[in-house]
Symmetry: C3
Subunit: 418 residues, 3 copies
Amino acid sequence: SQAAIAQTYSDRVAALEKEVEALKAENEKSGVIGSFKGGRLGFASKDGDFTFALGGRLFLDTAWADTDDDSRDLGQETFVRAARFAAKGKIYQDWRYKLQYEFVGNGAGGFRDAYLQYHGFKPGGNNLVLSIGNQFMAYGLENMQSAKYIAMMERSAPMVALGQGSRRLGVRADVYGDGWNWAGSIGQRVPGTASPQDDDDPLGLFTKVWFNPVLEKGRMVHLGASLRREELRGNNQGVRLRVRPENQVDGFRTLDTGVMGDSDGFDGANLEAAFTYGSLNLNAEYYWQKYDELENAGANTREEPEFTGGAVTGIYYLTGESRPYTPKMGGTYGAVTPNNPLRGGGIGAWAVSARFSTVDLTDSGIDGGRQDVASIGLNWYPEKRLRFSVNAGWASVDGGPNDGSDPTFLQARTQLEW
Amino acid sequence: SQAAIAQTYSDRVAALEKEVEALKAENEKSGVIGSFKGGRLGFASKDGDFTFALGGRLFLDTAWADTDDDSRDLGQETFVRAARFAAKGKIYQDWRYKLQYEFVGNGAGGFRDAYLQYHGFKPGGNNLVLSIGNQFMAYGLENMQSAKYIAMMERSAPMVALGQGSRRLGVRADVYGDGWNWAGSIGQRVPGTASPQDDDDPLGLFTKVWFNPVLEKGRMVHLGASLRREELRGNNQGVRLRVRPENQVDGFRTLDTGVMGDSDGFDGANLEAAFTYGSLNLNAEYYWQKYDELENAGANTREEPEFTGGAVTGIYYLTGESRPYTPKMGGTYGAVTPNNPLRGGGIGAWAVSARFSTVDLTDSGIDGGRQDVASIGLNWYPEKRLRFSVNAGWASVDGGPNDGSDPTFLQARTQLEW
Amino acid sequence: SQAAIAQTYSDRVAALEKEVEALKAENEKSGVIGSFKGGRLGFASKDGDFTFALGGRLFLDTAWADTDDDSRDLGQETFVRAARFAAKGKIYQDWRYKLQYEFVGNGAGGFRDAYLQYHGFKPGGNNLVLSIGNQFMAYGLENMQSAKYIAMMERSAPMVALGQGSRRLGVRADVYGDGWNWAGSIGQRVPGTASPQDDDDPLGLFTKVWFNPVLEKGRMVHLGASLRREELRGNNQGVRLRVRPENQVDGFRTLDTGVMGDSDGFDGANLEAAFTYGSLNLNAEYYWQKYDELENAGANTREEPEFTGGAVTGIYYLTGESRPYTPKMGGTYGAVTPNNPLRGGGIGAWAVSARFSTVDLTDSGIDGGRQDVASIGLNWYPEKRLRFSVNAGWASVDGGPNDGSDPTFLQARTQLEW
């Protein structure tokens, strides 16, 4: 009968209504949305005000090094170059935090990023980010770049000598609009510079400005300049600069100023340019650093040594990718997504890279030596978060305690992010 | 036609039934419910028998200190005061665990909470919690209080000198009913007290009882008493007590007994009272500690020095909040939820706090000195898990190796929980 | 009217369709499925290509030890025996990774598993797993076994002396089919063996083959053999072998060869058999190790000392469980699931275990001594991931620097996994 059929429909619809209510109630219980974005697990509250993600990196290295004059057989080594763990998230809509620890380190020496940020101010329609904590100071290009995405396996020798001291515990402000960015920061070293009694931790001031006259798909021009002033009062147990030959095989430093004496501090400046055209990316950086008058420096007392360096780095994706770049917060490169990942039967992304760097630590009676390093690399990214690299390098040392010791090296890395 | 309309309904209902089945099947796959409770991410199994949460804290400090007689310029320092990571959860319904590590520490020295608890017994309708592992021993008020929620930035000097040794590896029992609580524990230090050959690790016994004659919204009275007995056999390389002026700027300790000699152990007792009336919270604690006969102590051999201290602490929420308190597991304070959080356009919670503490380490020929410290604080909680604090303090030292050296200090903290 | 009724149905069905759409849309947002499998939280992407899980372990120990001739009172100690944290997952379908850190350790010394695996090759229909990183080398039975699931609380003395060096940074291949398994690996120590200047890290080569002639529910036979070659060049600061009496109470080593001199390396071999019949599980392992000619070894120069050891271990589940075994990746035991867990009102799983081990470090003029250890254990597993153990042991020392010092010990552990 028609009434029976109607009754059946009514029952089925009523049953459905109940089940849908139950499903909605169950969904209500969970306030969290999870996702594997770009291969990394993250969680967000349904209102978007809170997020949380864990992340990590693992760099497994094997390296061989030697001097071509047989003065020193640096040998072969296998080691964990980096193994970091990080927790980060958004809280209360406008705040971000990150706590990152390097397990190869120890205690306070293991901290990397450890900061709180506020994103709630929008002065004049521009973006302002205020950060407090241990973080990259606003200085240079390679200095603010994650080691996961640098072109070669190790940072350049001039950057390590003259652009180093990358993270400090302090405050930083970033303002950016369309095509321009400014960042300024002030900080102190953690772990403290020995925190000697009866003395203050020395301060460092850093500022950087950078522009992107071109920034579109596959095309990028980046121009930047940085300045810093670093106090050395408080740890005047002798100023010294040393440099490795762009590998970590043993403790050998090709350049070494020895203890130069004491100094009140130094000034530094940096010029940087970067350029992307399709699969080609080029970077150039120039470093300058000048110390205040040396004290307790013997014959060099009252000298103001001035050191310089520079590096040119190129990367070319053989498989057609373009190097990902983000203008804000430093102007930095990210993880490349292969056009044809291994998972889909492709060959992943392949890139060749090369760098020439030079650093001169000889000036004003200080003879640290000068080093040029030419290096080439082959990089395979089977997937976005996996990288296998091989680098070969040739260093040339002129002057300093290891004059004429020209190390060569070959190194390989398995790199994993999650 | 009516038949065609009926057919359409039938199809739509059948389609809905299928989709609802699919949704139910998909929901079945996931056995986990996530939530951001009070800003912190956690997960629970659908049957509620298992939970898991990660948590962490970051305290970023800057501090200045000085002596008002210029005998010592303690200087200024910036440092990571605490950076902890914890995993905790419920397993198999009745068990809880927590593993917490302080990254400023090293190896076994970095452990904080690391325990397993059993909640399955309910003797006489009361609650019983059995805990095994590294955990707070049952002693005192401030000692069992998380550093995240103490009123001032640093713990009081008498607590550090006479109520310290907060966590031990051992067992603890908590029993609590309506308005009353008892806890007893026995433990040994981790990392072991040097674990010398041919000797046992020394034991510590602790017990505490506390009551809440008043406990309602905005009203709380807490009264407690604690006893402990600590063996020192096993590390009799000399007993020494030292105290900082309630800041961590450098290694300077205002009070210092020096090595007093050896002792078999000491007895301690504690009285505590706390009181909340609306936005006002007050706490008072008295510490007493008496050593067994000193040995190898020169002129002081056979002496039994007795040290005392006390602290009164107050906090007042200018914005109307009341200090959150939980009676069980110590009688401890929690994170305040601002009435008007920053996120909603409010000013967050603001609180002023103050403390007066005194500790006397001079007795029976031992001249460690006596110190009074008065300190005040201003605290801003823009959101529940964020805290910015500034503290100022004035110490007064009488006797001991730093007689008359009266340090003052100013310190600021950025505090983050997640 | 009939029209009105039809209209009502139409509205209800339309409303349901909308709600179901909304539920489907909400489900789309989340790409992650969570679950508490066997009590452990894990996440997977909906396509199954990515997974992520955190895990950890906590071993809380108390131990007493003594020598029965009163020559040494080893004393009592409480300590954190292990506290590990691990992140692991699948990425991009065919890759697995694990990063595991032991918090009792320091810096690079804290690494345990830290590897990347590729599972994408299936040569001849068999399974092939390629692993790069810090990982167990392919050698022995107990060596490749997780400490969470060994029968006694501590590994056997012969394994520690002659089967140790379990994890290395290197590459490993595992191939396995029906009833057979082969693994080969090559690796170097991390942290590096001092990585002395002008020298290479020494290499170790390991291979193991094992078979399962019987492998069915409650029945298992496992037969295996291993070989290794370890270079010692690079750290020839003297070869030494030492052994504890299967407890960690203090630094006391019953056997000690002292510095034997230098050697180019050693060869090792291992035979292993395991057997499960219902609730009974038995294991036998034989160790052999022979050094290359000693140099700088005084009277022992040119000697090639040869050391041996063996252990027989048994476990019997009083409550009827059978020891879980996985043939691949070493042939290893897992976590037992109690037939009657505590949560359901049962008594959990109970097992008795026993081991006899012997190791002989006296040969070719080297007098390290010989030690036999008999030990028994009682284990309670209230739930799958919880274990409480008590072990008692009696060591007998013959020859070497501690001839006749026969330690006895009693130790207890609270073990938690999550």
